[in-house]
Structures are given as C-alpha cells and as structure tokens.
C-alpha cells in the first residue's frame, strides 16, 4: 500500500465565470496506488471520457493531433486551462466546450484529474474511485 498523494492548489481560479466548485480548500486530488482517486477526480475522469477528449489528445493524454496534456498542464495555469477548454482555440482545432454542460459544470474536476496525470501522481489514464 503506497501512501496517498495529496496535491492542493491554494490559489485557484477566480477570474473565470464558470460554476466553481469548492475546490479551493483542501487537496486538488487524492490518489492511492497511482489509480484509485477521490470522488471529485473520478468525476474529472468521467468528464474526460464523455467529451471524447481522447480523440485528439490520445487515450493516455500523451497527444495525437492535439498536444500532450501531460506536458501542457505543466505549463498552463488553471485559468488558462479553463479558458482554453471552455472558449476553445479554433485556429488550432480545439473546440469550445463552453456549451457542453457536462464539461463546464465539471471543469474543476477535469482539471484535477488531468493535473494528477500531468504531475505523474495518477499513473494511468483509467482510474477507479477509492472505496469509502
């Protein structure tokens, strides 16, 4: 049993007008054994799947026609991440998911999941929920 990894982000996005969930307190994600995650992060994974992000970014987020999110999330701030996902980057082929309720409502959870992947704390794309 490996110790759980907690990652918190004290300074979380305030400037983006989206339904913010209360992620500014406590850890951004919790992961055990590299793939067992908290409910919030699990929701992030479900959001990732439902929006078919893997079609462009690859099943393991390592990039295809779209860039590697493992790399990009090392660079993007949470605000930049939100702006990109919700507003799109049309010139680069990135669609806007602002109209997609599933994505816009769970943008923080999506960020938590992808950040966990980018940090290397979540060691595989497919995660399961930590049993309570």
């Amino acid at each position: 049993m490996k110790p759980a990894i907690f990652c918190s982000l004290a300074v979380l996005m305030a400037s983006v007008a989206v339904p913010a969930t209360a992620l500014s307190e406590g850890p951004l994600y919790t992961v055990v054994e590299g793939y067992k995650v908290d409910a919030n992060t699990m929701q992030g994974f479900r959001t990732w799947r439902s929006a078919a992000c893997d079609r462009c970014h690859g099943p393991n987020q390592e990039g295809l026609v779209g860039p590697s999110l493992i790399e990009r999330l090392k660079v993007l701030t949470p605000e930049e991440f939100k702006t990109t996902v919700l507003g799109g980057r049309m010139a680069k082929g990135m669609p806007s998911f602002g109209e997609n309720a599933k994505v816009s409502e769970h943008i923080d959870q999506l960020y938590a999941y992808l950040k966990g992947r980018s940090d290397g704390a979540i060691t595989r794309a497919k995660v399961i929920e930590i049993e309570q």
Partner: protein, 600 residues
C-alpha cells in the same frame, strides 16, 4: 484512342438512352478515354483500373519524379486529383481549396477558396480530410467540410450553384467525394460520432435541387424503402424487408441519433440504374445503450438512381460492438463466382470479411476473412447472412466499463476507406489492408446535440503473433473468398491502389513511399519516397503522349492521428513496432502532389 478527342469540347448535352437514366454525356465521354482520370475511381465501377500501359512491369523500375506541387495545406490528403483533357483539378483538406492547372504550361488557371467557418474543424472526428472533387456537365463539384456542396464552372471556377447538405452545428459535416452518376450529383454525410442520422442525397446536376434523400434509419418512407418490394438476404434467400424494418430494431426513438453515416465511395451500374454504397456505425460506440440490430447501419445498399428507392439492402454487422463502419467502396465487376459468371459486387468491410454479392439481386454469395487475424466472429452464416460473434470479443456481452482486449481487427477495420482496385486481366482484387487489433472499453454516454457522442475508449496495436507490422497489401479472389498473395507492410496501407494494363499495381505507404509491384505476385519493382506519408489514392493519366502516375502525400487521417501507442503497461509485450510515435520517425505533415513518368 484518338488523343485529339480529349481536346474537343463536348457540349453538355444530356442524352436519354433507352433502359437507363440520363447519362452525363460529357463525363461518360471523358471516362471512356483512358488518358483522362475523370472520376475519383477512374470509372463508375470503383475498379481503379487503367488501360494505359506505356509504364509497365518491364520499365517501371526506371520511373522518375516528373514534377511536384505543394498544396499549401498540412493534415491528411485523401482522394486524388482529376484530369480532364489538358486540365488537372487539385483539391486540399480543409479549407478545401481547389486549383485548376493547365497541364501544358503548369499554370494555375483558377483557384477556388471557399469561405468556411473554422469551427467546423472541431466537428470532424478523424482529421480534416476531403476525398476529392467530381466532374460532369461542365462543372467541378466540391463537397466542403461544412456540408455545403459547391458546383463550380470547370472553366472559370465560379460558383454555379451551392447547397447546404447538413447542419455542421449538430456534427453533420462532410469528408466524402461527391459522385456524378447520370444527371445527378450524389453525396453523403459524416458525423456518426456526433449521433448524426445518415443519409444519401441526390442533387440535380443542373440546378442543385434535391432529387431525393434516403435516410439510413427510421420510417420506411424516409429511407425510401418499400416494405413489399425492397428485399434483403433472409434464411438463404431474398425476401421483402417488411414494414418498419429499421424502427423495429431500435429502442424508442434512438434511430433519430442512430448514425449510419455515408462517408465512403459510391458506385453505379448504368444498365441496372443502381447506386451502391455502405452505411457506417450505429451511434453510440457503447452497444449496451442501443439494443437491437440497429438497422440499417452497417449495411450495403442498392438504390435506383432516378428515385432513390431501395432495391435491396444487406446488413453485415447487426448491432455493431466495435465501430466496424460499412462504408468502404462497393466494387462492381463481372467475375467467376464459384464457377459461375456473375455480375458481382465486391466489398472489403471494416469488419474483416470480404463480401461478394450478386449486384442485381442482392444475394449473398461469398463472405470470408481477408486477414487471418480477424477473430471477433468465427464466420458468416451463409443462410442467415449474420456473423457468428465470439463471446470473448463481444463488447456487448462483456459490458460497459469492461476492457475487451485483443479484438481483431481494430475499429479502423481490416480496411478503412482506402479503396482497393480490380484487374480485369487476372479477375483479382488488390487490397490495401490494416493488420491492427484493439482493446475496446465502452461506457455510458448521453446524447447532447452538437457534442461528441462516442462512448468507448480504444487502444490499438499491431496484430499480435504475426509479422509485427500493421499492414498487408493483398491480392484477393472474390469468387473463392481466398487470399492469392499477401505482402507485409510495416504500417497500415492507407492509400488507394491502382491497377494498370501494364501489369503493375501501385500503392502508397504511411512512411511516404509510392510503390510499384508486379501484378502476378506482388514483387516490389520500384519505390520512391515522397515528401510525407501517403493516404491518397494513386491515379494515372496520359498527356501529350506520355503516361503519368501521381499521388498525394500528406500524412493524417485516422491512420495518422488514430494510431497512438495507446498501450497500457501490460500490453507492452505485444511488440508494438508500429504506432504513431514510430510513424513520426519516418514522416511529417505536409501536403503535396508528386507526378511520375518514364525518362524521355
């Protein structure tokens, strides 16, 4: 052939022949001259055969690049240019520019740059490909990504008429080439991954007015199906489809977002006046969410050109569980089937089976695996026409959130849209194939208009316990359902093949080689590395007494973007020599046309 004939301008007179529809005289004449490449397959039969033989098995080894042309666009370049007389028509992926080039001077006579909203790019599932333009009635037809079908004056490039074929905001976009058959322009629709309801639509060649539209799913009248007259292969014979043949096979109104899109290549038999094409996957990719056979997704269709009425239909993969779209081309050829001369239709499906049907009646004659790796079904029951699914590889039986592993072929099929070719000299078919398997995990997904509606995560890799590569180029006997010879390739062969009277077959590879192989046994006679990976179709034409062979290069498409080494650690032992990363060692993006000829 009188070459001067090519330079004569033929007035666009519509001739009415007894027994078939109004042919487009201009296109018919152009197609009869092997010096032209007037349609995407060179003919209406999808044979991709040229009677030219200046370049042949004896001298192809001397072939050289004659000239090249940059399209100015990155991403996947599918289809091919057209050649009519002294003019070559060159198209590009999105933004779908078209160039008309004077072959005498190599000057650009006109260029058409459609104004399209770039938002459409995000609604395209598998790269921004476009499979080429069509020619007829003095016009060039461009099926744009944003679903608009443009008719351009072939001399000036000016828009003659323009129609909107779908709603890109709902994911209804286009990648297919339009096809001119008789006095109609036929086009389909893409967007199965957005829950778009597929249809085939015929537009009047003169005006762009809708002649008919036949849906793939739903009520009989919207599919243009006659419950009593439209037949399908049932219990070893052809029988009427009966009332509500599609509605009965869907839960509630799921047929409205049921897919069955039509983004492949179509063919036409003038004597029978029938148009042949295939329909794609049912939406979503999670089979548990859509109980039933999901008719008529994954089917081969024969429609009357004048009315759109369905003469016969045959579903290859009822209740798809693997994304085995049935859209690949239907090749029409008169061949020997089990010792009997037959007006056949031959189709290499994504599901890994090569089908031979009687194209007049729709009778099922042959269905055999054209890649020995195929494992999702043991065989096709020739009485019911249904595949015998292997439980282990059934994503329906294993259920959502279970990763079904080792399914062959992968979703991209034993062959995707890259068209095969036929040689009347051998009676065999020459098929570019994929040798790829997958892990497939379906999951619950909700439909939201205009948003992706996929519901499965896939990982693809080279077929295990084989030669380690991801493709083969094969010769197929469609009368017997047997592979005549097979040539292994490092990557999927994602380029349309070309056969010629010179006993040479041409095809391109994903690393970027154009290859010439011997008709009799596939022996490699010549190859040349073009600027980028090839997913375009090889074409040939004659100009001023010289035969040319050309092909687009420009890596992309599903072959280029869908081949991630999406392997989890436990799959790493599969000898993943292929995959996207490996491809990156060989090629990079960039669209160009390379044209070859023998030295003077």
């Amino acid at each position: 052939m009188d070459m001067a004939f090519k330079h004569r301008v033929i007035a666009g007179v519509v001739l009415a022949w007894a027994g078939f529809a109004h042919a487009d005289a201009q296109l018919d004449r152009a197609m009869q001259d092997p010096g032209n490449w007037a349609a995407q397959a060179g003919d209406n039969y999808n044979q991709r055969y040229s009677a030219l033989k200046q370049i042949n098995a004896g001298n192809v080894g001397k072939m050289q690049a004659a000239w090249t042309f940059s399209t100015g666009v990155l991403r996947g370049h599918e289809g091919s240019p057209l050649v009519v007389g002294d003019v070559m028509y060159i198209h590009t992926p999105f933004p779908n520019n078209v160039f008309a080039m004077d072959l005498k001077t190599q000057e650009i006579l006109w260029k058409y740059e459609p104004k399209q909203d770039s938002a459409v790019v995000a609604q395209m599932c598998c790269d921004t490909v476009n499979r080429g333009v069509a020619y007829g009635d003095g016009k060039i037809f461009l099926q744009r990504a944003d679903s608009v079908l443009d008719a351009l004056d072939a001399k000036t490039g000016k828009v003659v008429w323009s129609v909107k074929n779908g709603d890109p905001k709902l994911g209804a976009v286009n990648t297919n080439a339009p096809h001119v058959f008789g006095d109609k322009v036929i086009t389909g629709i893409s967007g199965g991954e957005w829950g778009v309801r597929g249809h085939l639509t015929a537009y009047d060649i003169k005006t762009g007015k809708v002649a008919w539209r036949g849906y793939s799913t739903g009520p009989d009248e919207e599919m243009l199906m006659d419950p009593d007259k439209t037949v399908t292969w049932t219990d070893g014979k052809l029988a009427p489809v009966g009332k509500d043949s599609s509605l009965k096979t869907w839960k509630g109104d799921q047929w409205k977002t049921g897919g069955g899109t039509t983004w492949g290549w179509y063919s036409y038999d003038k004597e029978l006046n029938l148009v042949y094409y295939g329909t794609g996957n049912p939406s979503t990719w999670n089979p548990s969410q859509r109980p039933g056979d999901n008719k008529w997704s994954m089917s081969i269709w024969a429609r009357d050109l004048d009315t759109g009425k369905v003469k016969w239909v045959y579903q290859m993969t009822p209740h798809d569980e693997w994304d085995f779209d049935g859209i690949n081309e239907m090749i029409l050829a008169d061949i020997d089937v089990k010792g009997k001369k037959t007006k056949a239709l031959v189709h290499f499906d994504r599901n890994g089976f090569g089908y031979t049907l009687d194209r007049t009646t729709g009778a099922l004659l042959v269905a055999e695996k054209y890649d020995p790796a195929v494992n999702w079904a043991t065989h096709v029951d020739m009485k019911t026409g249904r595949p015998e699914v292997v439980a282990k590889y059934s994503t329906q039986q294993n259920g959502p959130d279970v990763n079904t592993k080792g399914v062959c072929p992968a979703a991209l099929g034993s062959k995707d849209q890259q068209p095969a070719a036929f040689s009347p000299k051998t009676g065999l078919f020459y098929v570019p194939t994929n040798h790829v398997c997958m892990d497939y995990e379906p999951f619950e997904v909700e439909y939201t208009a205009g948003q992706p509606y996929v519901g499965a995560t896939l990982a693809m890799y080279p077929a295990p316990k084989s030669h380690g590569g991801m493709g083969n180029f094969i010769a197929w006997d469609a009368g017997k359902g047997k592979i005549a010879w097979s040539k292994p390739e490092k990557f999927s062969v994602w380029s349309g093949a070309l056969t010629t009277a010179g006993d040479v077959i041409f095809y391109g590879t994903l690393e970027g080689y154009l290859k010439a192989v011997r008709l009799s046994d596939g022996k490699e006679l010549w190859k040349f590395k073009t600027p980028s990976g090839i997913i375009g179709n090889v074409f040939t034409y004659m100009h001023q007494g010289k035969q040319y062979v050309g092909v687009y290069s420009g890596i992309g498409g599903w072959a280029g973007i869908g081949m991630a080494a999406g392997l989890e650690k436990d799959n790493d032992g599969l000898g993943a020599v292929g995959g996207y990363r490996d491809l990156q060692k060989h090629t990079a993006l960039g669209g160009s046309l390379t044209v070859f000829a023998l030295p003077d």
